[in-house]
Symmetry: D2
Subunit: 432 residues, 4 copies
């Protein structure tokens, strides 16, 4: 078994320049640590259009730094592989033609080794540049470096979720990483935590990094509401299945029901029924479904249908954000190296919901739309978020594949309502 | 030319029972008047899955009254054609199996004549029942009759939009109804009307009929905003086309751009370029594009891209509703029998926007989602609205195919962002 | 019930000119008689891409005479509807652009009545022309008139098979024509009739009309073989079904097995299982499967799989032709107005196979390819046959939807191996 | 550059047992030599459903020996990886469930290294078994070993054609093997070689190995005909292109023309137009189109259309076989390591056609059908050929990717008429 360790930053005070450099190096290095358990063959496969091959993620994130940092800022910068731009641009129309997304799995060269060399080259150039540039230049480009670091972290999460999907296509059930799982206790009962009505400020308050879609900060009127004290578990979701949840159209959105029929969904993604009991494909192999774990790999359609079955609803993103703004960012993140949601062990508080961060992204009932007054960033980086504001739903809180340094109360993740390959789960809400 | 006339209700005071009966008869009769210009062959065709054959609309609306009114309320009611339930149920899972929607155009029997006889039978039963039932019973079922009447009106609009699509598939360009169009004047220039910030009550205030999706009435905080004083015209939209609007991915939502590419959109639906200038297929035949008319048959993607190109945005549905709540319901509706949007002739006011009602449905930037506390109606009628609250956008104000008696300030229409066969257009909004 | 009668030609001797005129009129009239049981709505529907609406067949055959006879030969001929050429050209690239085949069901105008008027106009022009033209001109165009008549007869068969498919899509099971079916006797047992090896002449011997694909006459060496004495019956085919024929991949061609899986075939087309026993959709409504009837509406894949299961094979087209060249053309043809295959009642002969003509087209194991030295006819009519010589199999003998005056020993019909909507059945062959 | 060498068998006389062993080892070893130029990433990709990943070919051929030789014959044989059977069965329904063909490219494990170890294990077991088994046993299993060797050779050809397709999907145009190409001379002019009519014996005469589809030997009558003296060249095919061959529907079979339109074919596969002149993707990189080379990577549709344009036709497989039965098996085969067809340099003979073997498979106009009296082999090996006898055309003569020891005059290769990724070309024939 390959051991994955993410070094903690040193405790001694550091200059902002040094901090940026360290942060850059640590995050870039962590990407490669996440790939350590893979064999070369794993890096190549695109198991569905939404999934990208690991080798593509490794190259794309390097291309991102090359394109948005090195080329505009390092006068004599020469890309060692200018033709990579065509292969590893994801969706930036502003910076030229690109290879068709669903065909990323048809490309074997550059090889994995060559891509690691490309990464190393970019890292050295960035490192040299960050070390040597003027303070003024550093101030100017720090936001782009920071964006690139967060972009890298998003792809770290995708590396994990995508390789899980790739391995799931193999009937031999290969594992990414062995993991010992002990017996678990049932979680505390679900309780309801109440919040008063409020004309609230929502969105990014300019403290620390945020994506453009988290602002502008603006007012929303939020009625009184209640949130479930913890995530919905496999045991609870099994009740929904046993009660015929997947057979009853009245529980589903119309397009959700069509999807259930067309895809023949009968359980969350990665669940398989063997001899009448449910197994689950994890990054540590095929396991029994653990009742106490948060249910995971459900679509918005399933989360919404479950909530309706349970006489509840999903939270709005404003409700989620208000309930979370005072909570510490802690939970089961990628640094834990479980790569899987884990049962809640602490006693639930009657005033604070548990598991708001980590484990699974929580589907909200909010469509992913621009906040009032939203303006995309100028230039190509303006294509980062805004153009996806259609037919997607917002998720909040991060997952077991998210870095603890990547998440915050205002963070808006988004996926279409039928997406299931991310670590996505259910928290209930209801009217008072 | 067949003349379509909708009789006005008499001016003498009437009993509520008589008013309901009259209203029922008038609306049902109007449906048939709308079909008068059609030949039997026209009634049969389903030109795409979204479109239903005219014969289906005629039968489905009758099935609706039979299923939700006659069968539960008239003890000895016997359907003359119980097998129609399978053919003419649209999407009510609660009331049994149904024929597959995309196959509605594969059915030739019952014939058009038989369907008219079925309508007449249902109408007589309804009429007898409404005349004879007790006042108590009448009070109980009045909401269902009223819902059925509004449902009928929705299908009147679909009859018009669907037959337009059917006729558009014919390279011979047949016409539905001749119409004389005189020369038109350019509309007044577009101005901006300002509205202050407000913690506003939104939604149905329990005065008159409304669908369940228009409530509950609830508070929303709305920042100060501006609305365009009139609809965007063909002349303005042509500027967008000429400026390369359909070739510039940076103006489009990502899924919108994919649609533009896949469908090779270059102009609104029903526009055709002949010898370098634009023609437009209308229900009165192929015409020159009239610059002063409101642009019509654009998708949400196009409305959104146009707004971005114009340095503006679409309104939210709350903004639209607040601006409209004091305006009289008047405009170019189906009763005008133009079946096409018409140029604005009155001078625009600096305080009141024009064309808020009629002509074209106005795309808003609001996803179609439940209002806080929304509960679908009980029983099968609860499938009317709520289950479509996903991946659709709200439209407001009605169109030239909507009845003036069907629209109101809180009315929420909804279509997916790529839909173009409805009479849909553009009104701009912006931040102050 | 509408009665269909095909008038016999008079017995008095006639001039060739009069014979041609009579033949033309009789065949054209018979087309319309076949449509007599239909309602207008039936004429419009295209239930799958292979099917054409009845109205299209009626117009296309008239366009054929107009394009290939009137326009080149009648100097002052003016089409009343020149725009029909675009709508009603089937596949003749030589004569211009045409409407897309799968969209024939999207067109409601010209109406059925207008199409009948168009037919009548063409018929009058043809009649006038054939009556008045010089003998020399008549000699020149007689082959084209004759081709047009045979073309018309092919479309008569398609009108029957296509409307059967259209009506089959209606869950109400409408009927085309009532028919009384009495009890039937089991057919005589299947025997094997032997034929010696032969270096044989195959193909059209220039006696009477033939399509270009029936020649040139040429030699083929045919080994000794045996033919089944009659067609395979429903009773025999049911044995194949009960023996798991549709579940055993080893009986099927590879592409046949893929089709069985993809289309979920479990029986011939138009068979439906109700409460455990098999019903069959006919043009006279839904009936019990009659054991003594020839099995019908099977694809080449099914005919081939059945033959393999029965330790036999299908005949080659040469074998079929040699066995048939001396037999009289008689059987259950469209003139019988059964529109369905019927049980064999005569005793089978030990030297002559029964049912070689009529009832069902017999799949052969011969791919549809050009005979050695084949040259398509010159001009547009050369597109009639040759360009389809790929991925189709030859069928022989005509069916209950074929005219007795249309069939002959050398006639080569052809369909792809997965086609089932024609009246197609099974005759076995084997090595000696 | 990696050097590929195929060792010649020793000249000293050998026992049949030793010859079989040597042959087995040499062919198995040659497969691995063909893979030597590949990087691990190349082995994984399935670029379209027809293509299999190299790793799959390597494993499947080993599974074939394991399943059909080791398991039935070596009593204590234990597969080291019984689960491979599911992954590496191609299409043998008789031997169990198998992984879906189009998903072969979604599997990364077993790794390439593990597959080589599996090959080595199978090779050792086969070698031990062939060395130690009784003579009687050897006699019994020699046909299966021989079949397995020929099966291996077929997959060698597929490894070459499939990896060419994989590399062609990469916009960076990677090369498989460098190759120096000198200037070439125009080939001798095309002449016509005449053959008399003949009642001929066709098919396998039981001398040496053949697949079951090459028999039974039987008589066919073949009219007098002429064959082109050499293959059609790129220069000749360019004339067809320049003459509008791809724009003229009258030259094409109907389904061919549909394919041209749907796939937007404008030239053979792997041709790309750069700045107005044609380039061609080869296994040695992107080159100018060499006029003297045989045209390659054309479908049956293109070969047929070219022949029609040239006032000729393709040969039947009987014609081809009769013309070739006396010719020595020599030509440009895989052992030449050009992996590409090469210009004809020898003077064409007026009595013997050149290039009948090697360079490119020659499309015939014969559909791939069973010879009279054909019976598939018993058991699973009976699935090898017969079940594909539908909608495919026969090709003859082998290509630059075929082994010289694999081809013979009666060899029947077959592909669907739209297949282009094999090395397929054009030889003309015509009536005398």
């Amino acid at each position: 078994m390959v051991k994955i360790i993410q070094e903690e930053s040193a405790l001694t005070p550091q200059s902002p320049r040094q901090l940026l450099l360290d942060n850059y190096s640590r995050v870039r290095h962590f990407t490669e640590q996440l790939c350590a358990p893979l064999v070369v063959e794993d890096y190549v496969i695109q198991s569905m259009p939404d999934v990208s091959p690991t080798r593509w993620h490794l190259a794309h994130t390097s291309w991102f730094f090359e394109t948005f940092l090195l080329e505009p800022n390092v006068p004599d910068y020469i890309s060692p592989h200018p033709q990579y731009a065509y292969l590893f641009n994801s969706y930036y129309n502003s910076v030229g033609e690109r290879h068709c997304r669903p065909k990323r799995g048809l490309i074997s060269r550059p090889t994995v080794q060559e891509i690691y060399a490309y990464r190393q080259y970019v890292d050295e150039c960035i490192s040299n540049f960050l070390t040597a540039c003027s303070q003024e230049h550093l101030d100017k480009i720090t936001p782009i470096v920071t964006l690139g670091i967060h972009h890298e972290q998003q792809h770290q999460e995708l590396i994990i979720t995508d390789i899980k999907h790739v391995l799931s296509c193999n009937p031999l059930h290969p594992t990414y990483l062995e993991r010992t799982i002990g017996p678990s206790q049932p979680p505390p009962p679900l309780e309801w935590i109440s919040y008063p009505e409020e004309l609230a400020w929502i969105g990014y308050d300019k403290d620390g990094f945020a994506y453009d879609n988290e602002g502008p900060r603006h007012r929303e009127f939020v009625d009184a509401y209640q949130l479930g004290s913890r995530l919905i578990t496999n045991a609870e979701y099994l009740q929904f299945i046993k009660d015929g949840g997947y057979q009853n159209p009245l529980l589903w959105l119309s397009s959700g029901w069509s999807t259930v029929q067309a895809e023949q969904w009968r359980a969350p993604l990665y669940w398989e029924q063997h001899d009448g009991h449910w197994m689950i494909m994890t990054l540590s192999g095929l396991c029994e479904v653990e009742p106490a774990e948060p249910v995971c790999h459900v679509s918005y359609y399933e989360a919404d249908a479950y909530a309706r079955w349970a006489n509840a609803r999903l939270a709005t993103e404003a409700e989620w954000e208000l309930a979370t703004r005072q909570l510490p960012v802690e939970g089961n993140f990628v640094e834990n190296q479980t790569f899987h949601p884990i049962p809640l062990t602490t006693q639930a508080s009657s005033t604070q919901p548990a598991q708001m961060y980590g484990d699974v992204w929580e589907w909200t009932q909010s469509a992913y739309l621009p906040y009032r007054g939203y303006k995309p960033a100028a230039g190509a980086l303006g294509e980062y978020n805004g153009k996806f504001m259609c037919n997607q739903f917002v998720l909040r809180g991060g997952s077991c594949a998210t870095s603890i340094t990547h998440i915050r109360p205002t963070y808006r993740n988004f996926f279409p309502p039928d997406a299931r390959w991310q670590f996505t789960g259910v928290r209930l809400a209801r009217e008072v």
